[in-house]
Amino acid sequence: MTTAVIRVMLPYHLQNLAHVGPEISLEVEGPITPGTILDAIETHYPMLCGTIRDHVTKKRRPFLRYFGCEKDLSHDPPDSPLPAAIVTGAEPFIIWGALAGG
């Protein structure tokens, strides 16, 4: 099993819940996919459980988006391999509240 240190950018409100800054680093056991990154986030920051994806179905919350390497990864299956630059830590995996709200 490979392990990689992944950089993750969190939206403002989730930074506040987790008491962290805009970017966190996580050890993620491979393969490195959106699903395994989310698993690692929820293990290290249980207060974020249910705020990014559903507790039971694990579906992404509809107003959130995943980005990386200037690509929208939101609609990729959760077990899709991520770009090499995210796996090496050169680029962050970005979780973003993508829809504007009043």
Binding site: L17, E42, P46, M47, C49, R61, G101
Partner: protein, 385 residues
């Protein structure tokens, strides 16, 4: 000297307003959970420093917050990485999962729609245990925690009451009112828009609809068991069989725990509204805030008037001293009126315009505590020793 702590939930965060027993000068703390919608906050009657809050967002879903020091600091129960296995799963304080297959309810277009948890509208802490809290949620169901909101479990018997026929109100299909009988721990009342009022006498295992005597225009069956848009229930702890109701239209009361309701709208200028409250020391003194209509959700004639009945309904008097009586077009939502239990009972209300008002003398005189908060969704009051 005794004092009060007012817990205000708004569309963009929570605020805590504190004062001494005179209720003349106020400290305002907040916003807590800034930018989030706080549907409701309520303190434990057993331990006033224990406060629970429902924080939610269309983006990030539901979060439950808990304070053990009167609102100075907050935590998500079970939100930290567990140092050792305690038996409770981490990160489950916002996990509201229906028991079994919840099936469907009616959608606005009359088609079946799957039950889906959306948010917690109301938190009702137990009278006897600070770790036990009931949560009324959308889509309509009631949950209970016995571990201080670390985990929640549904009381699914409520949905056995023909929940496949429940229709959402304009604001959604939610359990928005939970009343615990202080004399009988097995009796709980709930209200659901737009399904009606329900009661359990066995601690939440089985429930029955308690809607006889209610009337709703255009309901095809005037004697229907369910289908009523109940906006709010209230009771006095000394007489828990007497329950007052603000129905969509009509103000109602029951003297037999909901087995039969009678109309007490009397001389109200309009009997549409949302909140209803009972005076802390006078079980027959009740308060409502009439709203012009269900098409125009603001107060009647541009005047914010609380109406008080000292006779348990039917005869009402307007309370206006200190409230805006011109060019006022706010609403007072169902959970946004509350009372304290000081010797001179205080009445509190929050408006959709962001004002919070207090009357320290049972409604005779009103002052503004704060006037520029976000839209106020809920107001609860703790009377402190």
């Amino acid at each position: 000297m005794s004092g009060v702590r007012v817990l205000v939930g708004t569309a963009k965060g929570a605020f805590i307003l504190t004062s001494d027993g005179k209720r003349e000068t106020w400290d305002i703390a907040g916003p807590l959970f800034a930018g989030w919608t706080v549907y409701h906050m309520k303190g434990s009657p057993v331990d006033p420093n224990r406060i629970y809050a429902s924080q939610c967002s269309d983006w990030f879903g539901q979060v439950i917050q808990r304070s053990s020091d009167g609102g100075m600091t907050w935590e998500q129960p079970g939100g930290d990485v567990p140092m050792e296995f305690s038996g409770a799963p981490p990160g489950a304080s916002n996990k509201f999962v229906y028991e079994g297959n919840p099936g469907t309810h009616m959608w606005y277009d009359g088609t079946p729609h799957p039950f889906e948890f959306k948010r917690v509208w109301h938190l009702e802490p137990s009278h006897t245990d600070a770790d036990t809290v009931y949560a009324g949620v959308e889509d309509a169901a009631i949950f209970r925690t016995t571990d201080g909101a670390t985990t929640w479990k549904e009381l699914p018997g409520l949905r056995d009451q023909r929940s496949n026929e429940w229709n959402p109100g304009a604001g959604g299909l939610a359990v928005h009112t939970i009343l615990l009988d202080p004399r009988n721990p097995n009796r709980i009342y709930v209200a659901i828009s737009a399904a009606g009022a329900f009661r359990t006498d066995d601690g939440g295992t089985t429930w029955k609809p308690i809607n006889r005597g209610l009337q709703s225009k255009y309901l095809p069956d005037p004697n229907a068991e369910i289908g009523y848009c109940v906006h709010r229930l209230a009771l006095h702890p000394s007489r828990p069989d007497v329950v007052f109701m603000q129905l969509h239209w009509n103000v109602m009361r029951t003297d037999n725990a909901g087995d039969l309701w009678t109309n007490i709208s009397g001389n109200l200028p309009t009997d549409f509204g949302f909140p209803i409250e009972v005076h802390a020391h006078e079980p027959e003194t009740i308060y409502v805030v009439p709203i012009k209509s269900d098409s125009e959700h603001f107060v009647h004639e541009g005047k914010l008037r609380v109406f008080r009945s000292r006779t348990g309904g039917t005869d009402w008097e307007p309370l206006t001293n200190g409230l805006p009586q011109k060019d006022c077009y706010v609403n007072v939502l169902r959970d946004a009126m509350a009372t304290d239990s000081l010797d001179k009972c205080g009445i509190y209300l929050g408006t959709t315009g962001g004002q919070v008002y207090v009357s320290p003398d049972g409604g005779d005189h009103w002052t503004t505590i704060v006037h520029d908060l976000p839209r106020v969704l809920s107001v609860e009051v703790q009377t402190l020793p």
